[in-house]
């Protein structure tokens, strides 16, 4: 091969290619950076707009009567007593069932499991279930808990539906919390002759508990805001009593809000906004609790 063939002097060179044209490129850069910041600003502005509208609409009707009255056809007498009680009952059911099942499944997958077909099947299922729309869980609850098990449209049926919905989230966060516990603790336990379960129960679980609880609180706060699955199992929107057992009819805050938003009168829209303020305050408190737990946990390590 003749080396002169490839020498630069033989070829015409496109000078344009080597012009850096920096001024234009830097201008484009500025526009791009402006767009990136603009998008972020828009997202923040929309959140501010949303919170502002709801505060303005709802603050006028937010008072103790609103918290302490049952639903009513007259807007000035309507309140969220039944909805608040219903939310508490449903959350109780969700917490009681989802904590042991979620944490148990997390422990199984992270600590006990060998790599076999069962574990793989469970993991595939969990990642698929996380993508199933919440209203499909509602249909499952309607067919399984309301009809087949015969719980009716009760607190128990609603709670169990939400348990199935948030289980994947709890399992994933439990596994993450267990993974942060150093392996040295496990090795030390085994070296002293403890069984795997003794090590988990006495050492790993206490160490991972703040992380597990953080995930639990965040999952519960998601369940509190869910409307669609409870609508699908047919939770009533007009209830004038507090639930007295897990088998009684119920309504929850989001459904009460949904009902009020759907009415034509402006007065009910303002009540909905007041309800949203209460709901979002509860969520904010729970999230603050989760963040507090997480920070304390990180400081201790």
């Amino acid at each position: 091969m003749n080396i002169n063939d490839t020498s630069p002097s033989d070829r015409p060179i496109n000078i344009e290619l080597f012009k850096p044209n920096l001024a234009k490129r830097y201008n484009l850069d500025r526009i791009f950076a402006f767009m990136a910041w603009g998008a972020t600003t828009i997202a923040v502005a929309i959140l501010a707009w949303l919170l502002f509208t709801i505060l303005v609409d709802g603050i006028g009707t937010l008072n103790w009567n609103f918290i302490d009255s049952f639903a009513s056809r007259k807007a000035e007498r309507a309140g969220i007593k039944a909805a608040l009680a219903g939310t508490l009952w449903v959350m109780g059911v969700v917490a009681v069932f989802s904590f042991p099942i979620g944490v148990g499944a997390g422990i199984f997958l992270e600590e006990f499991s060998e790599d076999n077909w069962f574990t793989r099947l469970v993991e595939i299922n969990i990642s698929n279930l996380a993508g199933v729309p919440s209203i499909i869980y509602g249909l499952l609850g309607l067919a399984a808990f309301v009809r087949v098990f015969g719980f009716g449209r009760s607190v128990l049926a609603g709670g169990l539906t939400l348990v199935l919905l948030i289980l994947p989230v709890i399992i994933v966060s439990t596994r993450e919390a267990l993974r942060t516990v150093p392996d040295g603790i496990r090795a030390a336990g085994f070296a002293l002759g403890a069984t795997r379960w003794q090590v988990i129960w006495h050492h790993i679980l206490p160490a991972a508990m703040p992380g597990i609880l953080t995930g639990m609180i965040l999952s519960l706060s998601r369940a509190i805001g869910e409307t669609a699955p409870l609508l699908a199992i047919g939770a009533a929107s007009f209830i004038a009593f507090k639930p007295d057992s897990v088998f009684s009819d119920f309504t929850v805050l989001p459904i009460q809000i949904y009902d009020w938003v759907g009415r034509p009168k402006k007065e009910f829209h303002d009540l909905a906004a007041s309800g949203i303020i209460v709901l979002m305050s509860v969520l904010l408190l729970m999230n603050a609790g989760a963040i507090y737990l997480r920070n304390r946990f990180q400081q201790n390590r």
Partner: protein, 311 residues
């Protein structure tokens, strides 16, 4: 505290009951395994309930009628079951929402990972988390009672229920999902790729668009697909803001009915078990489930197929 002499060791301290410990461990392991199996049972339950009622439905309504009818009137005297009426509404609203969420979410992700200082990042990420944590019924309120009246001031022929404002607000709802998943993908592109691009004389924008984004492409695309899947399955915003009027067509200014809105309409009306309305519910549920499942599987496959590995 008394110290035991070595000649008379305490039974429980020095000869632990290993059989008992092992038995407890086996029992606990079985219980935890059973809890883990709940996820399998849930999937089976979803598939079984959807299939069971859908098959009964399809015995009465032939599949081609379900797929080709031009009207959706299962609750009226003259029943027609054109699922495409509902699917078209769902698709239109999802397209509007992703047109909002893609630029907003992607640019926000780029801003967070490439432009924002660590302190800014620490402030902005929780804001996105708050946006993601707002209950959907709140977005429904916002779409119906704030955004629609606002849009009506300069779009006078916009109806009170419409897919435009539902789609826009739905887009805002899925923006945090796009932003945080894409941000993870962009943030995990190794710094040396950026350094290499800078060394070749590219500007920051050129580095991002020609090196960083292509490297993070699999994560970005899968975040978009997951966001579409979330939009398709979303219920409260579309039920409240888009109406309950099954119309075929792509006009975003008029009321429509999505698949999820239909499910809510029927379950609110106390459908009698065994009636055709009750079965229709599950037929629509099956369609919805299949669409989201296909999207989710495609997203997983895409990540697996196109992930760039840097080690």
């Amino acid at each position: 505290m008394t110290v035991q002499s070595p000649s008379t060791p305490s039974q429980s301290l020095w000869r632990p009951n290993r059989d008992r410990s092992r038995l407890i461990q086996t029992i606990v392991k079985c219980i935890c395994g059973a809890f883990a199996a709940v996820s399998i049972v849930t999937t089976l339950g979803i598939v079984a309930t959807l299939l069971f009622e859908t098959i009964t439905f399809l015995q009465e309504i032939p599949v081609w009628q379900f797929l080709t009818d031009r009207k959706w009137t299962p609750l009226f005297a003259s029943k027609e079951f054109g699922i495409f009426v509902l699917v078209s509404a769902t698709v239109m609203i999802s397209v509007i929402s992703i047109l909002v969420a893609m630029p907003l979410g992607l640019l926000a992700a780029i801003c967070l990972s490439e432009y924002a200082s660590p302190r800014m990042r620490k402030i902005l990420k929780p804001v996105l988390e708050v946006l993601a944590g707002v209950p959907t019924v709140v977005y429904g309120y916002f779409a119906l009672l704030t955004v629609t009246p606002f849009l009506q001031t300069f779009l006078p022929n916009l109806k009170g229920f419409n897919s435009l404002s539902a789609g826009l607000v739905l887009g805002v709802m899925i923006t945090p999902l796009v932003a945080s998943l894409s941000e993870d993908a962009i943030y995990s592109v190794p710094q040396r790729l950026r350094d290499g691009a800078y060394a070749l004389g590219t500007t920051k924008r050129e580095t991002i668009t020609s090196v960083v984004l292509p490297a993070a492409l699999s994560g970005i695309v899968s975040s978009l697909i997951l966001a579409i899947s979330r939009a398709v399955g979303e219920t409260m915003i579309v039920t409240l803001a888009a109406g309950a009027n099954p119309t075929l067509g792509l006009n975003p200014f008029v009321p429509v009915m999505t698949m999820t809105a239909f499910i809510v309409q029927v379950t609110k009306g106390d459908a009698v078990h065994g009636s055709i309305a009750y079965q229709t519910l599950f037929a629509v549920g099956t369609t919805l489930f299949l669409i989201t499942l296909a999207l989710n599987i495609f997203s997983f496959w895409f990540v697996r197929r196109f992930r760039e590995k840097y080690d």
